[in-house]
Every structure is written in structure tokens, then in C-alpha cells.
């Protein structure tokens, strides 16, 4: 099964290949969706030739529009595209297994070492590092939105921040606010003819 037989009904991907491809990627890739998705694209489009470039871009677009981790969504869609729902389940399994195994082991280790004073200092310093990382990510994301100079989306961002930080509104309502603003904007732009 090296992708030699290709016809309309027969796809070159075996179930084992589907599982192993996503398992390997999520076992060795540090850094979340923005790192793993380009690697998936490289693997599925260039290396295996399962999907053409344009369709892969659409698959990534769907993954970003759909809730949940982007790497998870992309693997589900690639699995589905290749071998239907069973394919999707296998690529999904390949994606979640490494995290399950590694993190549950670390969870046990954490309980065991967290009272050690060296570990405590290490974790304390790392917490500070992680808050720098998160706030930096927020800074980059907010800057991207502000630089687009679209007053409506800047306003949405400001209102959402006031709601969640100052008024401490339930996060579900803040998300609903975002969805509704997006829908209104979409309908409004559509009426004007062009988005």
C-alpha cells in the first residue's frame, strides 16, 4: 500500500497510516496549533500527496471556524476526507493519545514532587515566565486587530474586555456577544453588497 493504486473510489491512505501520521505529529510537536497545522499541511499535501494544496487550505479554514483545538479539528477533517467517519475517529485518536499519556504521567509526578523546595522555586519562576508568554501573546493578538484599523472590531474587543474584566460577566455571555456581533456585521455587510 504505497499509494500506487489510485482511482476515484480508492484512496491511498490506510487506517494504520492515518493513525500513525497524526500520532507521530502530535507526539513530537511542541507549541500548539500554529506550529502543528503547517506541519500537517506539509505531511498530507507534499509528503503523502493525499490532499491538494487548495483543499488543505479550505480544511484549515474550517478547522479555525469550528470550536476546539485547531490541530484536533484539522486531523478530524483530514481523516474524514480520506476514509470517512472511521478515518476521522482514527486520526482523532492519534492526535489525543500522546497528550493523554504524557500529561497523565506528569500529573502523577506533579503530585509527587510539588512539595520539594527546589521544584517549588522552579514552578514559581516558570509561572512568572508563563504569564509573560501569555500577556505577550495577548499583546500580539490585540495589536493585529488594532492595526487593521477597523473601528467595529476594535470596539467589539473593548466592549468584551470591559464585560469580562471589569464587570466580570459570565464568559458564556461574552462569547454570545461575540457571536451576535459577528452575525449582525455579516448580515449588515451582505446587504451592502460586498463583505
Amino acid at each position: 500500500m504505497n499509494g500506487t493504486r489510485e482511482s476515484e473510489t480508492d484512496t491511498p491512505a490506510t487506517f494504520l497510516q492515518l493513525f500513525l501520521s497524526t500520532f507521530r505529529l502530535s507526539l513530537f510537536t511542541l507549541g500548539g496549533g500554529y506550529v502543528i497545522v503547517p506541519l500537517m499541511r506539509n505531511l498530507f499535501v507534499k509528503e503523502y500527496g493525499w490532499i491538494d494544496e487548495e483543499e488543505m487550505l479550505d480544511i484549515i479554514a474550517i478547522s479555525q471556524s469550528s470550536p476546539g483545538p485547531i490541530a484536533v479539528n484539522t486531523s478530524i477533517l483530514v481523516g474524514y476526507r480520506m476514509r470517512g467517519v472511521r478515518g476521522a475517529l482514527l486520526t482523532l485518536l492519534g492526535t489525543i493519545l500522546p497528550a493523554m499519556i504524557i500529561l497523565s504521567l506528569l500529573s502523577l509526578v506533579y503530585e509527587w514532587v510539588k512539595d520539594n523546595s527546589i521544584i517549588q522555586y522552579l514552578l514559581e519562576g516558570m509561572r512568572i515566565g508563563v504569564s509573560a508568554v501569555i500577556l505577550h501573546a495577548v499583546y500580539v493578538m490585540a495589536r493585529t486587530i488594532i492595526q487593521k484599523k477597523n473601528m467595529i472590531s476594535v470596539t467589539i474587543m473593548a466592549v468584551a474586555f470591559i464585560l469580562s474584566y471589569f464587570l466580570q460577566v459570565n464568559i458564556l455571555f461574552v462569547i454570545a456577544f461575540g457571536i451576535i456581533s459577528g452575525l449582525i456585521h455579516y448580515l449588515f455587510c451582505d446587504k451592502r453588497g460586498k463583505a
Binding site: R127, S131, A158, I171, I175, G182, A195
Partner: protein
């Protein structure tokens, strides 16, 4: 029953986190810290830290970690499966719509409004983690000049693009260990 609670909480995390990256962070905080009280804010920051140093999306990592803590192996499996159940159903639904109509514009419209919203939600969670790590945590050095300097140095190196996130986190951890050893020896 813990398994049912794990399912309900992590199902919500999965189905409501739009936009990838840190989008799941505020949702996870709400579920595991605020609503359920499964972990403290300090532990929450620790899990994020561990999550940054290991492969896999943050939502999956958090589900595996908390699931194991709360319900052993069964907890791990249930929490992880719960996170991906919603995304699985929705992604398949969108895929079917896409292959039939080649049309995604309503979803893109919704996402357009969600993007700035999610940035603000992550900002709120980030500020919470920041104040906890620097000022209100349990450790004795909270609010000290050393921790503030460490944060400033980490932030500066990130902005200048000199260090990757993983290295920033590792170096701040190691620096804190050294700082405390030096203090112990000389003070």
C-alpha cells in the same frame, strides 16, 4: 459524581473554545478553578506551564492532567474524550456542509466577531495568572522586586523575539531556583 462533572465541564471547554491557541484558557479557568474548584489558581498556572513544555493543544493537556488528578485513568479518558466530542461532531458537520455547498461565509462572519472577543477573554485570564504569579500567590517572594524584574526581563526578551516561549519559561524557572539558592547561601 466526578465522571459526570468532568464530562460536563470539559465538554463545554471543547465546544466553546473558538479560535485555537489560548482560546480555551479562560473557559478552562472558569470550569476547573471557578465553578468546580478542582484546582487552585496556582495549580492552574502550573498546569499551563507544563502544558507549554509538552506537545499537544492546551485544552487536551489540561483535560488529561485534571482528569487524572480527579478520577485516575478513567478520569483521564473521560475528560479527554469530552473535550473532543463537541469539536468532532461540529467539524464533521461543517465538513459535510463544505463538501456539499463549498460555502463557509456565515461561519466566517461569526468568527469575525468572535476573534476580538476571544482576545479580550484571554487578556482577562492572562491578567489573572499574572497577578497571581507576581503578587497574590502563596510563595514568600510574591510581589518582591526579583519577581517583577524576572517578568520584565522575560517580557522584554519575548518582544524582541530573542527567546522562544518555551525557553522563556525554562529560564525564568531556573533563574528563580538560582536566585533562591544564592539568597540562602549569603543572606
Amino acid at each position: 459524581m466526578i465522571y459526570l462533572e468532568l464530562f460536563i465541564s470539559f465538554f463545554q471547554v471543547g465546544i466553546l473554545s473558538f479560535g485555537g491557541g489560548y482560546a480555551a484558557l479562560p473557559l478552562i479557568q472558569r470550569q476547573v478553578v471557578d465553578v468546580r474548584g478542582w484546582v487552585t489558581m496556582t495549580q492552574f498556572s502550573d498546569i499551563i506551564t507544563i502544558s507549554q513544555m509538552t506537545p499537544g493543544p492546551i485544552a487536551l493537556n489540561m483535560a488529561s492532567f485534571v482528569g487524572t488528578q480527579m478520577g485516575g485513568i478513567a478520569g483521564t479518558v473521560i475528560a479527554t474524550v469530552s473535550v473532543v466530542t463537541g469539536p468532532l461532531v461540529l467539524a464533521l458537520m461543517f465538513a459535510i456542509i463544505y463538501y456539499r455547498y463549498r460555502e463557509l461565509s456565515v461561519m466566517k462572519g461569526i468568527l469575525w466577531g468572535l476573534k476580538p472577543t476571544v482576545v479580550s477573554l484571554i487578556a482577562t485570564a492572562g491578567i489573572g495568572i499574572f497577578t497571581q504569579a507576581l503578587f497574590t500567590g502563596e510563595s514568600p517572594s510574591s510581589g518582591s522586586i526579583g519577581t517583577l524584574l524576572l517578568f520584565a526581563a522575560g517580557g522584554l526578551l519575548l518582544v524582541r523575539g530573542k527567546l522562544t516561549p518555551v525557553k522563556t519559561i525554562l529560564f525564568s524557572g531556573l533563574f528563580m531556583v538560582l536566585w533562591n539558592l544564592v539568597q540562602r547561601l549569603y543572606v
